[in-house]
Amino acid sequence: AQSVTQPDIHITVSEGASLELRCNYSYGATPYLFWYVQSPGQGLQLLLKYFSGDTLVQGIKGFEAEFKRSQSSFNLRKPSVHWSDAAEYFCAAGRGGADGLTFGKGTHLIIQP
């Protein structure tokens, strides 16, 4: 069965520190991969996506993610977090057909002053 795993439910990072959020997927073939961010009471906003090619993907708001086929991972990184980055982050995967994306359970990011 297809699945997306985000091992960390909560992560606390000091403002200005670097960030890495983990994501692992289990699919029959390499899926399309996405990271979304959700602020409280809001919908989801796409940060970045990976289809093929360069395994390091740049996104909005200074985020990047690296696809590692050997580890079935697609971890999200940011060199220096800002207080406004506090939110829920979701990793998602899809096969590109009409069916929807499979989401991980999300990682709640807390920023310490």
Binding site: Y32, L44, A98, G100
Partner: protein
Amino acid sequence: EADIYQTPRYLVIGTGKKITLECSQTMGHDKMYWYQQDPGMELHLIHYSYGVNSTEKGDLSSESTVSRIRTEHFPLTLESARPSHTSQYLCASSEYRRGSEAFFGQGTRLTVV
């Protein structure tokens, strides 16, 4: 900026009432989705559509129904609301091509009392 709108944003309603959650998009996307999200938890696909007159059930069983009479409109209906239906409902749309990302509305937070 994604143009997908959900109304109402918040709804508190009594048990047994019929409700319709509205979702409209102005991007001309063929694919539309409804996800259910409980607080602090992952998103579960409950309905999706390939296009006009197409509706399919998603991974999570739901007592709700959907219709797709127009490309831009994908309403979700609960014939008789129950407290177990209390949740956040997120509508999304995407292009019908491989790897296209989903654009999300801001969600409807439903509370059934």
